[in-house]
C-alpha cells in the first residue's frame, strides 16, 4: 500500500501529559511526525492538535482508533493531504 501524508485534527483536554501520550502513541509505533501544531481553542480547557504523518491508509486507520481510545481525546478527524 502507498504511503501518503495524512493530517489528524485532535481536540484534546488541556491537561499535562496529554501531548506526551499522543506523541508517544505515534512515535512508539515507529511513525515519524512531519508537522505538529498545538494551540488553545476558544474554550480554554480544550486544545487542538494538528499532526501530519506519512503512512499507509491501514496504519492511519489504526492510529485514528488508537487516538480515539485515549482518555483525554475528545474528537479526532483525519484527512489525506
Amino acid at each position: 500500500m502507498n504511503e501518503e501524508v495524512y493530517r489528524f485534527n485532535c481536540y484534546v483536554e488541556n491537561k499535562p501529559g496529554v501531548l506526551a501520550r499522543i506523541v508517544g502513541l505515534i512515535s512508539g509505533r515507529g511513525y515519524n511526525i512531519q508537522t505538529l501544531n498545538v494551540g488553545p481553542t476558544e474554550d480554554g480547557t480544550v486544545s487542538r492538535m494538528k499532526i501530519d504523518i506519512l503512512g499507509t491508509a491501514r496504519v492511519i486507520a489504526q492510529i485514528t482508533s488508537q487516538l480515539q481510545n485515549q482518555v483525554n481525546v475528545i474528537e479526532v478527524t483525519c484527512r489525506k493531504l
Binding site: P16, A20, G24, G28, Q62, N69, Q70, I74
Partner: protein, 573 residues
C-alpha cells in the same frame, strides 16, 4: 478536613477495595500511616513486581480491579513489568505510586523517577496528582477508566506533599468523563447481518477470546454454540470460556493449538471472533489466515478491529450484549458434515505425547495429574513458556476465570505472585501455580506471602533444568546451540566459562530446601508412579506447598506452527 493520604484511603474504601497489595517506602509513608485504620486488608509483597502481579492475579480471578501501592523511583519502576502484563491482556488494575514533593520534581531528587512518563506506554492511563483536592476525584476516575471499555491498568502518581496537605474534597457519587465514552452497541443492521451470516453458514466456527471472559459472556457463547451447532475454539486468554468436555469444543488454537482447531479455522466459511485481537501467535502467517471465511469480529475495542486481520463485519460492542440480542434471530441448526470433518481431524491428530525415556516423568503428565487430582476444578495459574503451553493444552478447561496466564506479554515470573493474588480473591478455591524452574526463580520470594497468610496455594515447579521454550527454539531453529538456556550443571556452552567437572550437583537451586526456607512444605517427585499421589496429598493438606517435579528435559511443545508458516504447515513432533 483531612490529609490527602487519609482522603486516598477513604476513596479506596468507597471504591470497594477489599485488599491492597504493595510495598512501602519514603514517598508513600503518609499513606501507610493511614493503613492501620483502613477497612481493607494490606498484603506486603517482597518485591514490587510481585505486588503488581498479585493485584493482576486478583483481578483475573474476580474481574474486579486489583490495587497495588508502591513508593517512588525504584518502587514505581519495579511495577512496569506488571503494568505491561496487565495492559496487553486488558486486566483492570490500579497502581498507586508515591512521588517526590511537587517542588522537588525535576531536580533529580532521591528516589525520583518520571513515573507517568515511564508508565505511559504500558498502561491504559496515568494521572500525576497536582494537589490533595484532586485525590478523591482522581481515584474515582481511575477505577472508572480501569473498568470501562477495554479494561486496563491505571497509574496514579501522588507527590508526597499532596499526601500531607489538607483537603475537604469528597469522593464523587458518579463519574462522568468529558472525553472518554467507550460504550458502544451493535446497530440493528449489524445484528441482522450477523444473524443472517450465522443462519447461512455451513462451516461456522466460534472463536472465543479473553473478551468473552471479561464481558461475562461464557454462558452466552455456549448457548449460541448449542443452538446453531457451532464448534468453539478459544485463544489462550479465552481458555475456560467454553467447557472443553463439550463435544463442540476444539480447544486452543494458534501456534500450539490443536490440529482440529487450526484446521477448522482454516476451512471455515464463517468465523465468529468474539473478544479477540488476532495476536500473531494465533494467526500464524497472516496472508494465509482464514482465507475461505467470512470473518465477523466483535470486540469492545475499536482499535482491535481491522488491526491484524480484515473483518468482513466488525462490531464494536460488548460481546455479551451482542450475543444476547442476536440469539433470538439465530435459527437452530445442525452441521453434520462439518462436525464429521472436525471429528476426523480430532481422531487423526489428537493431542498427545510419547514418553522419551522409561521412568522419566513427561511434563505434560504433570498437567494431567493436576487436572485429575483437582477434579478439573483448580484455578490454574501459569508462568510462561513450555509449562504454560502444556497447562493450556492438557488441562481440560471448563469454567471462566480458572486459567490465569500472561498471554500477550509472556511475563516470566508471573505465576507465583498471580497465584497468590488469585488465592486472596478466591479463598475457598483450589489454586495451583504451574511454573518452570526458570520462571519460578524470578519471583520465588513471594512464596513467603502465601505462607504467612496461610494460603493453600500449591506451586508446582516443573523442573527440566533448562529454559524449555528457549531450548526448544534453539533445537528446532538455531542448530541446537543452547546458548544461555541450560540451568543445570551439564550442557553449558563454553561462553559461560563454567567448569562442569568441578560441579558436585546436578542442578540448583534445591526447590525443596528453598520451599522449606520460605516456610512452605516441599515435595520432590522423580518417580512417575508418585506424581499424582503427591499432588493429591499436597492439595489435600490445604497448606502452602511447593511440588518440584523432575521431568524429561528434552520434551517439546507440539503441535507447533513455526513462525512465519501457515496452519497447513503444522509440525506434530
Amino acid at each position: 478536613m483531612r490529609t490527602g493520604a487519609r482522603a486516598l484511603v477513604e476513596s479506596l474504601e468507597k471504591a470497594g477495595v477489599e485488599v491492597l497489595f504493595g510495598y512501602p517506602g519514603g514517598a508513600v509513608l503518609d499513606i501507610f500511616n493511614c493503613l492501620p485504620e483502613a477497612k481493607f486488608n494490606f498484603v506486603l509483597g517482597r518485591h514490587e513486581q510481585g505486588s503488581a502481579h498479585m493485584a493482576d492475579g486478583y483481578a483475573r480471578a474476580t474481574g474486579k480491579p486489583g490495587v497495588c501501592i508502591v513508593t517512588s523511583g525504584p518502587g514505581a519502576t519495579n511495577t512496569i513489568t506488571g503494568l505491561a502484563t496487565a495492559n496487553i491482556d486488558g486486566i483492570p488494575m490500579i497502581v498507586i505510586t508515591g512521588q517526590v514533593a511537587l517542588s522537588l520534581i525535576g531536580t533529580d531528587a532521591f528516589q525520583e523517577a518520571d513515573t507517568t512518563g515511564i508508565a505511559r506506554g504500558v498502561s491504559k492511563h496515568c494521572f500525576l496528582v497536582q494537589s490533595a483536592d484532586e485525590i478523591p476525584q482522581t481515584i474515582a476516575e481511575a477505577f472508572y477508566i480501569a473498568t470501562h471499555g477495554k479494561p486496563g491498568p491505571v497509574v496514579i502518581d501522588i507527590p508526597k506533599n499532596c499526601q500531607q496537605a489538607l483537603t475537604a474534597a469528597k469522593y464523587p457519587e458518579r463519574v462522568s468523563l468529558r472525553a472518554y465514552h467507550p460504550e458502544s452497541t451493535a446497530t440493528v443492521r449489524q445484528l441482522n447481518r450477523l444473524a443472517k451470516l450465522i443462519n447461512a453458514a455451513e462451516r461456522p466456527v466460534l472463536y472465543a477470546g479473553g473478551g468473552v471472559i471479561a464481558s461475562g459472556a461464557a454462558s452466552d457463547v455456549a448457548a449460541l454454540a448449542h443452538r446453531a451447532e457451532i464448534p468453539v475454539t478459544t485463544t489462550l486468554m479465552g481458555l475456560g470460556s467454553f467447557d472443553e468436555h463439550d463435544p463442540l469444543a476444539l480447544g486452543l488454537s494458534g501456534m500450539h493449538g490443536s490440529a482440529a482447531a487450526n484446521w477448522a479455522l482454516h476451512e471455515a466459511d464463517l468465523i465468529l471472533a468474539l473478544g479477540v485481537r488476532f495476536s500473531d501467535r494465533v494467526t500464524a502467517k497472516i496472508s494465509e489466515y482464514a482465507q475461505r471465511a467470512t470473518l465477523v469480529h466483535v470486540d469492545c475495542d475499536p482499535a482491535s478491529i481491522n488491526k491484524n486481520v480484515r473483518a468482513d463485519l466488525g462490531i464494536v460492542a460488548d460481546v455479551k450484549d451482542v450475543l444476547t440480542t442476536v440469539s433470538s434471530r439465530v435459527k437452530t441448526a445442525t452441521h453434520p458434515a462439518w462436525l464429521k470433518r472436525i471429528a476426523d481431524w480430532k481422531r487423526l491428530k489428537p493431542l498427545g505425547y510419547r514418553p522419551l525415556h522409561d521412568g522419566v516423568i513427561m511434563p505434560q503428565a504433570v498437567v494431567e495429574a493436576i487436572d485429575r487430582a483437582s477434579k478439573g476444578r483448580a484455578i490454574v495459574v501459569t508462568d510462561v513458556g513450555q509449562t504454560q503451553m502444556w497447562a493450556a493444552q492438557y488441562f481440560r478447561h471448563n469454567r471462566p476465570r480458572h486459567f490465569l496466564s500472561s498471554g500477550g506479554m509472556g511475563t516470566m515470573g508471573f505465576g507465583i505472585p498471580a497465584a497468590i493474588g488469585a488465592a486472596f480473591a478466591q479463598p475457598d478455591e483450589t489454586v495451583v501455580a504451574i511454573c518452570g524452574d526458570g520462571g519460578a526463580q524470578m519471583t520465588f520470594e513471594e512464596v513467603v506471602v502465601a505462607v504467612e497468610h496461610r494460603l493453600p496455594v500449591v506451586f508446582v515447579v516443573v523442573n527440566n533444568g533448562c529454559l524449555g521454550m528457549v531450548r526448544q527454539w534453539q533445537e528446532l531453529f538455531y542448530a541446537k546451540r543452547y546458548a544461555g538456556s541450560i540451568l543445570g550443571s551439564k550442557g553449558r556452552m563454553t561462553i559461560e566459562r563454567i567448569d562442569e567437572s568441578a560441579l558436585d550437583y546436578d542442578y540448583l537451586p534445591d526447590f525443596v530446601k528453598l520451599a522449606e526456607a520460605h516456610g512452605a512444605k516441599g515435595y520432590r517427585v522423580i518417580d512417575p508412579a508418585k506424581l499424582e499421589p503427591t499432588i493429591k496429598k499436597a492439595l489435600a493438606a490445604r497448606k502452602t506447598a511447593v511440588v518440584e517435579v523432575i521431568v524429561e528435559p528434552r520434551a517439546n511443545v507440539y503441535p507447533m506452527i513455526p513462525g512465519g508458516k501457515s496452519v497447513t504447515e503444522m509440525v506434530f513432533d
